[in-house]
């Protein structure tokens, strides 16, 4: 087997798995948090910006106009639950649990197990200071759609082979 540490094309991040984006258009494991954007079920113009910190599980949820989420009073709102579920779809339960440093009770990690493990830690409610940077990261992410493709070769992409998901 080739030596991973001496491989130019060592796979470091597993590929994101496809998922439906209608409810949660954006989720990421970044800045020490699971964070993302959840579309409102009732108002097409509104989105919720939700996050849970790794380790402490400190959570926050507010709208893109900085109004606090009514559901996130003292415990996880449905937006945060949706965010965790979608993160597990996109990144897999194991990577999500590891990033959040959540103790999962028994067996293979799952979204339910991660949620139960986080609730058991009695997560504190954080303030909404993360909302603005998370929302701007979401907009930056969407802006990638507007960048024109090019037909000049990018030789460095040779370092990024596809990774066939393990069967």
């Amino acid at each position: 087997l080739p030596d991973w540490e001496k491989s130019s094309t060592a796979r470091v991040i597993p590929p994101a798995r496809p998922r439906k984006l209608a409810k949660v258009p954006f989720v990421e494991l970044a800045d020490g948090r699971l964070q993302g954007v959840v579309s409102s079920g009732s108002d097409i113009e509104r989105v919720y910006v939700s996050s849970v910190a790794a380790g402490t599980c400190t959570f926050a949820c507010s709208t893109n106009n900085n109004r606090p989420c009514g559901g996130a009073r003292g415990s996880f709102c449905n937006h945060i639950l949706a965010l965790i579920n979608e993160a597990v779809l996109q990144y897999g339960a194991e990577r999500t649990a590891r990033y959040l440093r959540v103790e999962v009770a028994d067996g293979a990690p799952s979204a339910q197990g991660i949620i139960a493990g986080m609730r058991a830690a009695h997560p504190p409610q954080g303030d909404a200071t993360a909302a603005a940077p998370v929302f701007s990261r979401f907009l930056r992410h969407l802006a990638y759609l507007d960048l024109a493709p090019v037909t000049v070769p990018l030789p460095e992409m040779q370092w990024f082979p596809p990774t066939r998901a393990e069967a």
Binding site: P18, D31, P149, M157, Q158
Partner: protein, 481 residues
Amino acid sequence: MRADLLAAAIAGLGEALAAVDAFDQVLIAGLLRPQPAQAAGLTQLADAVAGTPLASRVAEAAEKAAAGAASEDHLAALAAARTALLGSVHDALMTQVTEAVGRARGEHAEDNVTVPDGTVLASAVLASTRPAGRQAANVRAAGRSWLSDLARCGWRGLDNDVVSASAQVVSAMLPDPDLRRLATVLDGFAAELAASCPGATLERIPARRWADLWSRAMLLTLPGAAGSPVTGTVTGRLLPLGVDLQEHATAAQAQVHAVLEPADGTAARLVRASVSAPKPDTVVEAGVWQLLRPHMSLLAAASEGRSMDLAGMPVTGEGDLIWSDERARAGKPADPFATARVALPTAADAATAPLDRHPARIAVPVFLEGYAARKDKDDALTFTVAGHPLIVDTGRIPAAGPLTPEAVAASGACIGLLRWDAGSFSVQPLAVEATVRKKAVAVHAGGWAGGASDTAGVKAEKAAADAASVLRERAGRLLRK
């Protein structure tokens, strides 16, 4: 193919790679407070290029870095030294590949492959500012500054703050097509580093890979290094062999490898055509083909098994077509396996641009048949070609396509790319022929590049189109306010 020739030991290869590894260890701990072991690693790198034009620059850079006082220019010189060493490894491996494959090798159009090692790199490192936009120069400098910070903190010292500083730089570069190459490597590199924070708790570190990406990006921040100059145009018949897909979280590139038969009757040659795009990380699998497809008609032609007729298509010195749909029209059907059997053996291979010489760049089209496919106990696949084992890199087969590792294992003929990584050669399958109910059936890794017609493909296309339309709707509503 003479697979036996690939197994021969190459003189000096071990020494060159040992010097590379020594430097790669230096980057693990970082250059903020260098320890004696790091000073030794830096000296080993400098000694390895002592006989080249880079010698004095690198010796000075190694000394300063060992004292914890490396400037950005010193770090760039170290990156150049490492790149020169891997360039020499590339050249030695390519000599072996050329013998094994038994095809002619093209001269680089700028004809500077024969320049002694290091000279070309030295000229890039020493180059003063060429005419370029001040804005572009500023963002390149910002990129170099970020890379310098990385080298100082080292992979062990990675944290969210140092990594996230790249976001602004990348965002400023991406819209400028001239900076796309640098932006794309920085973006993919930064995403890996971000996912690996904090570096202090990493169980293992991809030392060769990250030092590769760091050095590549460092050199690309130098003026004039990222160009791929067009050296002419080509007219003639283009016969696709297969499609190679490359992707990271926020970018994808498809490269079509093909044989070009020039209309003027000159010798056939191997060329590549590339199309790439930045993408949101939730655009994956079939979504990637949907993103790239509208910008290169060749993807559809390759999927449908057609040739294309080119008229005045720009080409670089290393055989990269700068594709433009206006200069190509659909031609007659052309079976890639017929191309591989008949046209490939006499086509000349492209040369690699001096700055781009690196073992990871080796991707030489080959045609194999009459091999024995064998799976070992860890499911790794090997072809025994003329009595010699060749690893089959099934991990590179894209998920969004009809080709599977099982089809490769059951195949009797294979169009692939010969590659080298971590000390061994391997073949990446682009297409295979297998016998199903006594009929030869061809399956292509890029079979869905132009569109999918089988049930699984149509389903994947639909899911990807839905995801893209959600993102576009969200962008339309939220982005432009």
